[in-house]
Symmetry: C2
Subunit: 124 residues, 2 copies
């Protein structure tokens, strides 16, 4: 515990996929609610750490995805963690408003129930 290594080196050594991306899980820091999962590249990780607001990389638009930039549903970064083998990030955040583009609190609203999928939350 407490052992420290250099951040820049760690970011260089993350196991990005062939598109230079790494999955980032957003979790509400105080309730533990898993809000969403999206992708970051090195530049968006650096921007997230610099600004304190979560910035993903949009795979469809091939550009920065500053979460909440248009909706106002920003994610303030509370803490960033890296997993054991450096291929996944966990962002503890403070989510403003709904995290999901469907206006639901989080993106995981389809629940498997027997041989069905059931919707478990409504848009806010």
């Amino acid at each position: 515990i407490g052992q420290q290594t250099d951040l820049g080196q760690a970011l260089d050594n993350l196991r990005y996929n062939e598109d230079g991306l790494i999955p980032a899980i957003a979790q509400q820091h105080d309730t533990g609610e898993v809000l969403m999962m999206a992708w970051m590249n090195k530049a968006s990780i650096e921007e997230t750490l610099k600004t304190g607001q979560v910035c993903y990389w949009s795979r469809s638009r091939q550009t920065y995805w500053r979460k909440g930039e248009s909706s106002g549903h920003v994610q303030k970064l509370v803490e960033m963690r890296i997993d054991c083998d450096g291929d996944t990030l966990l962002c503890l955040v403070n989510q403003n408003g709904p995290a999901c583009h469907t206006e639901r609190p989080n993106c995981f609203y389809h629940k498997v129930t027997g041989d069905k999928i059931e919707i478990i939350t409504e848009p806010n």
Copy 2:
């Protein structure tokens, strides 16, 4: 809320990557602790749902990764959820023992602190 669709169809329609894989987040069902992230293919999802024990797909070994098969650190599935755009799974589980292969409770034990990375948990 409560709207149901067919599970088989939903599993067919998941947005697997070019290797037929989808990221699956494991979260401890009662504490909200995010334990790990790994990958599943359709067959491992079906096995997970059938057996009630989480089964990933090992990208390095290219075979089923029945979590805890050798270590005993199994993940009993409590609930499986699918996100809004069908490209990520959230598995609420009951983790037996440490989730991480380092014998830590979860895999996210590197914390970004300023320009350093700090280890925040020790092996159990």
